[in-house]
């Protein structure tokens, strides 16, 4: 139950402790690799720190604006085709760290967002709009168009399947 885990906060702290233990273990086996990993972590962390501010802001706005009633209407069981379209476009347009989006989607899930639409949103993140010119550069226009169309199609399949495989309580 993600809600219980998030509320208690034990899951995240336990995960952090286990990761630190993995570092300690690696430190005993291969100190050089551990130093490299820590250096890399510091480098990534300095890039991610401003993102954490954005995460906080997004969470606050979500809590303030997105009430369960609204979520259920636009992304819940009754959302219909508009909900699917919102998930596809939202996923394609979404930028930033996946962890920020896990947090946001976890919150929306608790407020009634369908698992199908969460799956569609996450899958459509594979279509990286800002990177399309680079993909075209490396692999060609035809390849990029065909691949993106398949990614969007499979996002819908993932939504349908995931909803059937994960039973969701209707609040």
């Amino acid at each position: 139950m993600p809600d219980k885990q998030l509320k208690k906060g034990h899951g995240g702290w336990l995960f952090l402790v286990l990761t630190l233990l993995a570092y300690m273990l690696l430190g005993l086996i291969n100190p050089e690799a551990t130093v490299q990993a820590i250096t890399f972590f510091i480098h990534v962390m300095t890039q991610v720190l401003p993102m954490l501010g954005l995460v906080f802001l997004l969470l606050f706005i979500a809590n303030l604006m997105l009430e369960p009633k609204r979520i259920k209407r636009y992304l819940g069981k009754e959302s219909g085709i508009k909900g699917w379209a919102a998930a596809v476009f939202g996923g394609i347009l979404s930028v930033g760290s996946i962890y920020a989006w896990y947090t946001m989607l976890g919150e929306l899930q608790q407020k009634g967002m369908r698992n199908a639409l969460i799956a569609v949103f996450l899958y459509c993140r594979a279509v990286k709009l800002p990177l399309l010119p680079l993909m075209i550069h490396y692999f060609g226009l035809a390849y990029t168009v065909v691949l993106c169309l398949y990614l969007i199609s499979f996002s819908i399949i993932s939504g349908i399947l995931l909803e059937k495989l994960t039973k969701q309580k209707t609040a």
Partner: protein, 145 residues
């Protein structure tokens, strides 16, 4: 007055959620750094060349455990293509890189539920193989490859 309380309540709720999320994000970044250091990208280059099916499975597997900016997958994919690796295997690598998240799985499970995260990643792994073949065969069928 009521609006003030609404904002204060939501701010308190946000702080509470944020405090619970920070260890997950920091833990994931630590884990990502560890994986990148222990499994450098160069290792993958010499592993291909065992036929489309095995190469595709390998591409999917590497993409599934790979972390980092998707741009890195384009660069690696481009290098592998230049080195003679099939487009199907490279497509699998690029697609798995952005759809399957083995390293991110603990965070996804914590925030969206274990069942959801596990089933989603299994689906994404299988879908990657299918998409890799479909993309390349579609291009060949249309005479664009």
């Amino acid at each position: 007055m009521q609006a003030d309380n609404h904002i204060k309540d939501n701010l308190r709720k946000t702080i509470k959620t944020f405090i619970n999320v920070v260890p997950i994000i920091v833990g994931m970044l630590l884990l990502t750094s560890l994986v990148i250091t222990v499994f450098p990208e160069q290792i993958s280059a010499g592993l291909f060349g065992n036929g489309d099916i095995l190469d595709t499975l390998l591409g999917t597997s590497i993409g599934s455990i790979a972390v980092g900016h998707p741009l890195a997958s384009y660069l690696l994919g481009g290098e592998l293509l230049g080195g003679g690796v099939s487009l199907i295997a490279v497509t699998a690598l690029v697609v798995a890189w952005v759809t399957v998240g083995i390293v991110q799985l603990p965070a996804e499970a914590l925030m969206l539920g274990t069942r959801f995260a596990v089933y989603r990643n299994i689906f994404c792994f299988i879908a990657t193989v299918v998409i890799a073949f479909l993309t390349v065969y579609t291009l060949r069928f249309l005479g664009l490859s």
